[in-house]
């Protein structure tokens, strides 16, 4: 399989990258690790004539406990004991991404913005042509939920839920300048597999910022998938909590792999903060989260199973963290 010809640009600063983006918009893609974009390009999914590679932009590199550059390699986070000590949920999420080979090239920014997935989208040109193209690439209809308005492709990143529950923010840079957003606000909570985030044209993710209290939180990320490597999440449950004596001081839950964006459950979790947790309370919590998610049939496992597992994973993760055990 070859790639169709494109122009490759290699800016050496954010300013240059953004300027290029402004010039080339909308005919470009940013290229980070390439492990998501290049397979999609090989399958002729939404090709652009220009690629802006970000590998030579120094401001995007590197990570520490407070700041993770968008071009930080997943493998570098994976082998960092500081990360696993202070952010165990994040470490679980990182380690769960694809394979060691993918993590060697794959980046944090790339995983945050990993293309939403669907088995009507992630197919060869031949396959898609034989069915008729879908909304998300070259077509005008959805085959998952047959209609012509909305794309149901599934958010399949592992890192976003794990970072959101730590209260992470993202630094963005674009033609209109820099801004900082809570990570969860990066994603389109209207639910659209195509317009999946709120990045403005030409804008890129510079870094993830972690607040100081993130280190105080107990956290976990539980991933459902057919195989312990390679597979994207069929469900990814991230939980972070703080326990103050017998009181739940903070609780954050984010769930990926089910809908078009990582789901949050403030209206549910807020009701639990301040009180104590018992087996029954945790079961109520889990049931409520499970009841709120709406997976569709576009991944390996059936949606009813993924929904049911949401409850199980939430219960297991919250129970372990509440009791001060590692969740798995």
């Amino acid at each position: 399989m070859h790639l169709d010809p494109f122009e490759l640009h290699r800016p050496v600063s954010i300013e240059e990258a953004v300027r290029l983006a402004q010039e080339l918009a909308p005919g470009f893609d940013y290229l980070a690790g390439g492990t998501d974009l290049l397979p999609n390009y090989k399958m002729h999914l939404n090709l652009r004539p220009h690629l802006i590679a970000l590998d030579q932009v120094p401001e995007l590199q590197g990570h520490d406990l407070d700041r993770i550059g968008a071009m930080a390699r997943l493998a570098d986070l994976d082998s960092d004991r500081e990360i696993s000590t202070h952010y165990p949920g994040l470490a679980q999420a990182v380690h769960g991404v694809a394979t060691p080979l993918v993590r060697a090239s794959g980046t944090v920014g790339g995983n945050l913005l990993v293309e939403t997935r669907c088995f009507f989208f992630n197919q060869s040109l031949f396959w898609r042509a034989s069915l008729g193209y879908c909304l998300k690439a070259d077509g005008d209809r959805c085959y998952v939920v047959p209609q012509k308005e909305k794309c149901y492709a599934t958010f399949s990143g592992d890192l976003a839920p794990a970072l959101e529950v730590l209260g992470a923010e993202v630094d963005l840079a674009g033609p209109d300048g820099n801004r900082r957003l809570p990570l969860e606000d990066l994603y389109n909570a209207e639910g659209d597999g195509i317009q999946r985030h709120h990045l403005r044209p030409g804008e890129l993710v510079v870094a993830v910022q972690l607040p100081p209290d993130a280190r105080r939180r107990r956290s976990a990320y539980l991933k459902l998938r057919p195989r312990p490597s390679f597979d994207f999440p069929e469900l990814g449950v991230a939980v972070a909590l703080e326990r103050d004596g017998n009181s739940l001081a903070a609780l954050e839950i984010a769930v990926g792999g089910l809908e078009t964006y990582p789901r949050r459950f403030r209206s549910i979790t807020d009701g639990f903060v301040g009180g104590s947790l018992s087996g029954d309370r945790i079961a109520d919590l889990a049931r409520a989260v499970q009841g709120a998610v709406r997976p569709v049939h576009n991944t390996a496992y059936p949606p009813d199973y993924r929904k049911r597992m949401t409850g199980v994973f939430v219960r297991r993760a919250v129970t372990s963290l509440w009791e001060g055990r590692e969740a798995s």
Binding site: M1, H2, D4, F119, N122, Q123, S124, F126, W127, A129, S130, L131, L224, P226, R227, P228, S229, F230, D231, A300, Y301, P302, D304, Y305, R308, M309, V312
Partner: protein, 774 residues
């Protein structure tokens, strides 16, 4: 002729590292795609995006006119049908008049590069008339509007129907104290070898055609090329480079191989066709999606009285090995137990989906699953330990089955005894806590079909040539296809063993039809047994020449001369003799290079009724496996922690290879059990990728204890039988029966994914049936 004493083997019986290993670990082994020819073009195939269509017009004019395009072929130029079975030749190199599944080849292009070839494919204009699509084998058995093949029985999509009845099954069921019935369904699975198919073809002005291809069956490819292209075989040369796995997926001559040769003839240039991974999935020829219905009758003591079996297997678009598969889905239930009555109805139905064919443990895997799960249920009904039930029914050595299979050696009883002991069965079965369990599954498999797929003329199953020259090296020529199973190593080791030389003296020639004598290929687990016997005979011929030479040198009688390591010496007078080289040089005097031939023809076995030859073999392998599992009953996720694999392959000639085959078979069997599935929506394959087709990962592999318990087979080379396919079949039922022991749920639909485990638990709970107190 003296035979080599079996007791005193130097090499065979030990662990012999693969002779090509150093080349493979260093990236120096050459697979077809590693080869380049001067002026080579890129071949690409236009594949049908419709499931079933009449090709009204295929217009290649525009494509052919594009710069850089050297040829565009459509089906009508080479319409002769071919197929691996002479009786069901129904594939064409390129579709003629009609395309039959999404992925069927409708045109072929040769161009200067990949991009140009793809653009040319896009420029081929095709006008079609859609035909009714058939996706469900259950509905195509009656008369249909537009049968997928003209030859379908009664204007239907039924490709083959087999009906067999031995003994009196109805009487058996009337007399039975207990009966069980298992109705099961099995998703199709595919070989998923790591090397995508690749073929290079080159036609030269001397009137010859050379084809390099990733194939398990170079000889069948040779014949098919000749038939379809209308060229005599002697002008075609077939070369098999290293093959990156086959498992049956490269055991048919395949359309792209012939299309590639046609492009080479058309252009006069070498042409390479390399598959993209999705093309590997469309080409398939994998295990048939299957529905079977197995009824088992037994008396009160657990003696089996009869089986009544129906199987419906989905053939996809072509016949391939399907006629054989249709038989195998019945007769592979014939062992490893004594059976007084047997009735079988098998049907294979065409659909507009990728063709099914032969895959490791061909025809035996799914039926053995249903039988072995059924026996577990029967044991429970009769309140017998599953081992006891099997032990009471084990086929004895030197017996004949009711359908007249000749069974010579079997160590099945010993397999049962050893695996029961080693697995700690007595302390575990029904005694482990809820969520943990052990299960027993058993199997047998043919050690090569005694009734080979032969076109005319009748020839041996295989022939091996040896050449020894003054350099002291021995070159072995054989068309047996090493596809990674280690047959080159075995070939070299047998020769070295018999002649008494170091392994490094023996060089196995690459498969090349100009040089290597015919062997019909690596399938049906025939190579060790058949090639092994042929190699042994060839080596004995050479050895006898060296004994003769030693006799000439020493004056001692031939009968007194013994083969030692690199030396031929007189018994009881070890100081008298000749080194191998001295003997060889003596033997060369006046003749030059020595040559020797050995061949193998299987003995006449089997009955004389219609279909009697299906499943006959000169020997059978036997297996008894215990699997241990742990189940998470909230998620349905389970872990197969350990498999104890007792296997009778006669004498294991290369332990490394036998263990490798068992481990690989368990991997593939568990893959089919746990998650592998060709997922279709209607006629459309949803997961033609290695990401979405779920081969299991190292974390999911159980610890495996290989228990090689076989006794020498009387006809196998040095007592050996097959170990390539039999090790797979026992895996699946052992896991299923272990799941039952763990959670009290039976599984009748494969693969057993976690969501299905959970559904099974839900059903059990809904019935308020407790298991181990839960």
């Amino acid at each position: 002729m003296a035979t080599t004493p079996e007791r005193d083997l130097r090499l065979l019986g030990g662990s012999i590292p693969y002779i090509e290993g150093p080349l493979k670990v260093s990236g120096r082994a050459e697979y077809t795609d590693d080869l380049k020819r001067p002026g080579m073009l890129v071949g690409k195939l236009l594949r049908a995006p419709w499931a079933h269509a009449r090709l009204v017009r295929v217009d290649t004019t525009k494509a052919r006119a594009m710069p850089g395009v050297f040829a565009v072929l459509k089906g009508e130029k080479y319409p002769t049908p071919f197929g691996v079975l002479p009786i069901t030749r129904d594939e064409t190199a390129i579709a003629v008049d009609r395309s039959r599944y999404i992925g069927d080849i409708i045109a072929a292009v040769a161009a200067q590069d990949e991009l140009t070839a793809e653009r040319a494919l896009a420029a081929v204009e095709v006008e079609i008339e859609p035909l009714p699509e058939y996706a469900d084998p259950r509905v195509g058995r009656e008369r249909v509007d537009a049968p997928i093949h003209e030859k379908g029985l009664n204007h239907s999509n039924l490709q083959k129907e087999v009906v067999q009845h031995f003994g009196d099954v109805d009487a058996a069921f009337r007399a039975a104290a207990a009966t069980v019935r298992v109705r099961a369904s099995f998703a199709g699975v595919t070989h998923a070898f790591t090397e995508p198919q690749c073929t290079i073809a080159e036609a030269t002005p001397d009137g010859r055609l050379t084809v390099w291809s990733s194939t398990q069956v170079p000889h069948y490819l040779h014949r098919s090329l000749s038939e379809v292209l209308g060229m005599p075989m002697h002008r075609i040369r077939v070369v098999k480079p290293e093959v990156g796995g086959g498992f049956g997926g490269k055991s048919d001559p395949l359309p792209h191989e012939i299309a590639c040769a046609a492009l080479a003839l058309e252009t006069g240039r070498p042409v390479k066709i390399l598959f993209d991974r999705d093309e590997v999935f469309y080409t398939n020829h994998g295990r048939h999606p299957t529905h079977n219905d197995v009824r088992i009758a037994a008396d009160a003591e657990g003696h089996l009285l009869g089986y009544d079996i129906e199987a419906l297997i989905e053939g996809g678009a072509w016949s391939s090995f399907g006629t054989v598969t249709t038989y195998y889905n019945g007769v592979m239930a014939m062992g490893p137990y004594r059976l007084p009555s047997f009735r079988y109805k098998g049907q294979r139905v065409f659909t507009n989906r990728p063709p099914s064919g032969a895959m490791r443990a061909h025809g035996g895997t799914n039926i053995r699953y249903s039988v072995e799960v059924g026996l577990d249920e029967l044991a429970e009904k009769l309140q017998l330990d599953p081992f006891e039930l099997r032990s009471r029914n084990a086929l004895p050595p030197n017996s004949t089955t009711i359908n007249e299979f000749r069974v010579t050696s079997t160590s099945f009883r010993k397999c049962l005894d050893v695996v029961r002991e080693r697995s700690g069965w007595a302390d575990k079965w029904r005694r482990l806590p809820y969520g943990q369990g052990v299960g027993l599954g058993c199997g047998f498999y043919i050690s090569g079909s005694a009734s080979p797929i032969h076109f005319t003329p009748k020839m041996p199953q295989c022939t091996v040539h040896l050449k020894a020259d003054m350099d002291g090296g021995i070159t072995v020529h054989s068309m047996q296809a090493d596809i990674g199973q280690g047959s080159n190593t075995l070939l070299a080791a047998i020769v070295a063993e018999v002649i008494g030389v170091s392994l490094d003296r023996v060089h196995v020639s690459p498969v090349d039809s100009d040089i290597t004598p015919v062997d019909i290929g690596s399938y049906s687990s025939r190579v060790t047994f058949m090639m092994g016997n042929a190699a042994r005979k060839a080596a004995e011929g050479l050895r006898d020449r060296l004994i003769e030479a030693t006799h000439q040198l020493t004056g001692y009688p031939r009968e007194a001369i013994r083969v030692r390591h690199e030396r031929y010496e007189v018994e009881h007078r070890p100081e008298v003799g000749a080194t191998y080289l001295e003997a060889l040089h003596q033997a060369l005097e006046g003749t030059g290079a020595l040559q020797s031939t050995g061949s193998y023809t299987s003995p006449p076995v089997g009955g004389s009724f219609k279909g009697a030859r299906a499943g006959t073999a000169p020997a059978y392998s036997f297996a008894a496996y215990v699997a241990q599992v742990t189940v998470d009953d909230e998620t349905g996720v389970y872990d197969v922690e350990k498999v104890w694999a007792a296997f009778d392959c006669g004498r294991p000639l290369n332990r490394l290879a036998v263990e490798g085959q068992i481990q690989g078979s368990i991997h593939m069997g568990l893959g089919q059990f746990m998650g592998e599935s060709m997922d279709y929506r209607g006629t459309r394959l949803m997961n033609p990728s290695l990401l979405d087709y779920k081969i299991i990962m190292p974390h999911q592999m159980p610890e495996i204890e290989c228990l090689l318990v076989g006794a020498d087979d009387p006809e196998g080379p040095f007592g050996a039988k097959e170990a390539g396919e039999g090790p797979l079949v026992a895996t699946l039922p052992a896991a299923a029966n272990a799941l039952y022991d763990a959670i009290g749920v039976r599984f009748y639909d494969l693969p057993v994914t976690p969501d299905r485990v959970l559904k099974g638990l839900d059903r059990r709970r809904a019935e308020s049936r407790l298991w181990k107190g839960h």
